[in-house]
């Protein structure tokens, strides 16, 4: 792997950049691998990387029907935080957070993880109770967090309307200083490059068309480029997970919904933290390029069209202008949609299935990006050992039959 550094950059510049190597190979599929990861998004690539890096399993293929990182990795609002309410979620997202811290160095790829802090605003008394509850839980779980009052919020974000004039005045917020944003594409590319360097085959434009299953044991996958065998297959296909499960004769408690986001035109820096509000329903940060990156809500219907309904965008901008009246004359550049697979309890599924050797990692809803390193890390461990990693274990499919849901609707809210 060509090592990246500022010094290297100068060297390359003097050679007119003619000497750059490929960041990953473009291999021909082998007939057989130890592990196949279906889905070349951030989670899948991270899984492959940790399989190779931490478990020495390098005979791994990542099978991607389009281009690497082209799904929700490419279309989220890049927020990273770990201040979840329930112990199980907190453990998973904090595990991810610890990996985020140092990820650029580990991958030798600057994922621009910017710990600029995340505010989750409270606008009602119940919001504030929920915030207190969550922050108290976070601290006892070893996760950083503070409860701020309206003045505290105002001093962090001077441009926000924290006055009583607002329809739903800001009463306070939770504040996680270690949270922030990262450059989404770079996360996929960084993992891809590092996994490739360890020997993982990244197979783009390779679509899985079915699973080979014999006697309840997975044998491999059918693809548009031929059959590929493996006794362990991990499906990490986000919005398309139900379709994949259907190919294996499985049913998952998922619904795939459109989730929309939008950006403004690039502006000179004006907002240095991430601001999220469940109550007036909008979340916003400003990218290093200057765009205001704004997350909208989920559309209520199932949809694979990567677009949602216009009123969802309108409501989001209403919320943004309500919170930031000075943005009224700023202009919206573009909007887009992703396909998020949501679980009834707003928590993911990391689970074995009744088919031996076939695992699913899905159901992240709107919260997948921030979990990327943690999800990949515990999923890799589970695939390597054949037993779910302790952090992953509570996220089994079984919970929907036993009733042991991890209901993040309660206090962490819907906006991730």
């Amino acid at each position: 792997m060509q090592r990246y550094s500022g010094f290297g950059l100068v060297k390359h510049a003097l050679r007119h950049h003619e000497g750059w190597q490929r960041q990953w190979r473009n291999p021909t599929p082998k007939p057989r691998y130890d592990v196949i990861i279906v889905g070349g998004g951030g989670h899948g690539l991270a899984t492959a990387y940790y399989l190779a890096k931490e478990h020495g399993i390098t005979n791994v293929a990542v099978v991607e029907k389009g281009w690497l990182g082209g799904g929700n990795t490419a279309r989220n609002t890049t927020i990273v935080r770990s201040n979840y309410l329930w112990d199980e979620s907190a453990a998973l997202y904090e595990h991810a957070m610890k990996h985020w811290e140092g990820l650029s160095q580990e991958l030798n790829y600057n994922v621009m993880f910017s710990q600029r802090g995340v505010l989750n605003l409270g606008h009602t008394l119940q919001d504030m109770r929920d915030i207190q509850r969550r922050v108290n839980a976070n601290r006892l779980n070893g996760i950083d967090g503070e409860v701020l009052d309206a003045e505290g919020v105002q001093s962090l974000v001077p441009i926000m309307d924290c006055s009583k004039r607002a329809r739903y005045p800001v009463m306070g917020a939770s504040w996680q200083p270690r949270a922030g944003v990262a450059r989404h594409d770079a996360v996929a590319w960084g993992y891809a490059r590092a996994a490739d360097a360890l020997g993982v085959d990244l197979l783009q434009n390779t679509e899985v068309t079915g699973f080979k299953i014999r006697d309840g044991q997975i044998q491999g996958v059918h693809t548009n480029r031929g059959d590929i065998e493996a006794k362990t297959v991990g499906c990490v296909t986000a919005g398309n997970s139900s379709v994949m499960a259907g190919m294996a004769g499985l049913n998952l408690p998922l619904e795939s919904h459109p989730l929309q986001a939008l950006v403004s035109e690039p502006l000179k820096p004006v907002l240095d933290t991430v601001v999220m509000s469940n109550h007036v329903h909008g979340y916003i940060n400003q990218s290093d390029k200057g765009d205001l990156v704004i997350g909208a809500g989920i559309d209520g219907y199932n949809g694979y069209g990567q677009r949602g309904s216009y009123p969802t965008v309108e409501h989001t901008l209403q919320a943004i202008v309500e919170m930031f009246p000075i943005f009224s004359r700023v202009r919206m550049n573009r909007q887009w949609g992703g396909i998020v697979d949501t679980c009834p309890d707003a928590c993911p599924i990391l689970s074995k299935t009744k088919i031996k050797g076939l695992y699913f990692n899905c159901g992240w809803g709107t919260g997948g990006f921030k979990a990327t390193p943690g999800s990949g890390h515990v999923f890799a461990a589970s695939l390597a050992k054949g037993e779910m990693h302790p952090i992953a274990a509570p996220f089994s499919i079984d919970r929907f039959h036993s009733g042991a849901l991890i209901d993040e609707h309660g206090a962490a809210g819907v906006a991730h």
Partner: protein, 136 residues
């Protein structure tokens, strides 16, 4: 934004008047007490999530306040029919199969769109495969 024909109001109305309510035709088990935990969990949480034709229940919330059903393509978002509660869809699995076949044909004919945040551009399977072949 959808334009939805309400079978009770007998006219097309804007999506904003409606609320989607998930999969249609989920019947509550007749005898809950004899259901296993697994059956009850299936009833509560497990839903069809097809890429293609889907039967879903909607509510004309700001309108006649009636629940009704829609058959809709979850990719194109085309609404194929709407029908009253208690009625059965006329467009079903056979259509699904036909649609899928058409979609496959379309896919081999056209370039695949790998979509991104905005104006998005993607390579066709065939084209990329040929390039890969050349390099391999």
């Amino acid at each position: 934004m959808f334009h939805i024909y309400c079978p009770y109001c007998e006219e097309l109305r804007e999506e904003e008047e409606f609320h989607p309510k998930g999969q249609a035709h989920i019947a509550r088990p007749e005898e809950p007490d004899t259901c296993s935990d697994e059956e009850w969990g299936d009833y509560l949480f497990f839903r069809d999530n097809p890429r293609g034709i889907h039967h879903e229940m909607w509510l004309h919330a700001v309108g006649c306040r009636k629940f009704f059903n829609i058959t809709r393509n979850t990719v194109s978002y085309e609404i194929l029919e709407t029908y009253k509660m208690g009625e059965q869809p006329t467009i079903t699995a056979e259509h699904l199969a036909r649609e899928e076949k058409n979609a496959r044909e379309e896919k081999t004919n056209n370039a695949q769109v790998a979509e991104g945040g905005q104006q998005t551009v993607g390579a066709s399977d065939a084209a990329v495969a040929s390039v890969k072949g050349a390099q391999a």
